[in-house]
């Protein structure tokens, strides 16, 4: 459909959630905004292929998600930089404790496989139905459901269960226990 003023307004109205999705996926504020910009350009360049009356946010999220994926293949995530950059994008810094908890959460989220992370964000934060999330990710509804479930149990293991797989005994402890056999 042509780029009408009302369509323009609708695209603009999707920008805040597109940014939130991009930041949640990439963990990096600057990179997220580049992704959003590229998404907007691509959406408008291909606006003729948007079906009037269909779900505009889902269409835009699909573009962003595919861009992120192809970008991801090209360069590795800058994990080291992620937290600092993300914190910069927040208008108000959360209080110290809340901030620690937030970083811990962000860190755990980054540990999920990409498939699971995007499914969890789309359903649990963006508020898409399983059906829409499946359309955005180009997979079956059942696949989305199982990715969301696996994401949730992995996060709870990482955040709330003692001795989750990532926090095994550290080197020193192991050396004390295992070494020095005589």
């Amino acid at each position: 459909m042509p780029l009408t003023d009302s369509l323009r307004d609708d695209i603009l109205a999707s920008v805040p959630s597109l940014r939130a999705f991009a930041i949640s996926l990439s963990g990096n504020g600057d990179r997220a905004d580049d992704l959003v910009q590229e998404t907007l350009l691509r959406a408008i360049a291909n606006i003729d292929s948007f079906q009037p009356g269909s779900n505009l946010p889902a269409w835009l999220f699909t573009i962003l998600r595919n861009l992120f994926r192809s970008d991801y293949r090209k360069r590795r995530r800058e994990v080291e930089d992620a937290e600092g950059n993300y914190a910069k994008t927040l208008k108000t810094q959360p209080a110290q404790n809340a901030h620690l908890e937030f970083e811990e959460f962000r860190h755990a989220l980054d540990k999920l496989p990409q498939d699971q992370r995007e499914a969890l964000i789309l359903v649990g934060a963006s508020g898409f139905s399983y059906e829409d999330a499946a359309a955005i990710c180009g997979c079956a509804v059942g696949t989305i459901k199982s990715r969301v479930n696996r994401a949730r149990s992995k996060l709870s293991a990482l955040l709330y269960v003692d001795g989750a797989e990532d926090f095994g005994p550290d080197e020193t402890v192991r050396a004390v226990i295992g070494g020095n056999g005589g």
């Binding site: 360049a45 208008k91 649990g124 996060l155």
Partner: protein
């Protein structure tokens, strides 16, 4: 089945906490609204050609003529 129920309760609590944290992270960004650069970008693009011309990668505007 008592144990399963108990576990389910604990699990539900953790899950609601995770859901809350996830939305808090996301909504922090949503609340920032639309940065000026995007509002300007959308305002000044008058059509698909203008957008295509600005894209980084020329490959997607079926660039064979």
């Amino acid at each position: 089945m008592k144990e399963v129920k108990k576990q389910g309760g604990l699990n539900a609590e953790i899950q609601s906490r995770i859901g809350h944290q996830l939305r808090a992270m996301y909504d922090d960004v949503v609340r920032q609204g639309v940065p000026d650069r995007f509002a300007e970008l959308i305002r000044k693009l008058d059509g698909p050609e203008a957008a295509a011309a600005q894209m980084d990668d020329p490959a997607k505007t079926d660039g064979r003529d």
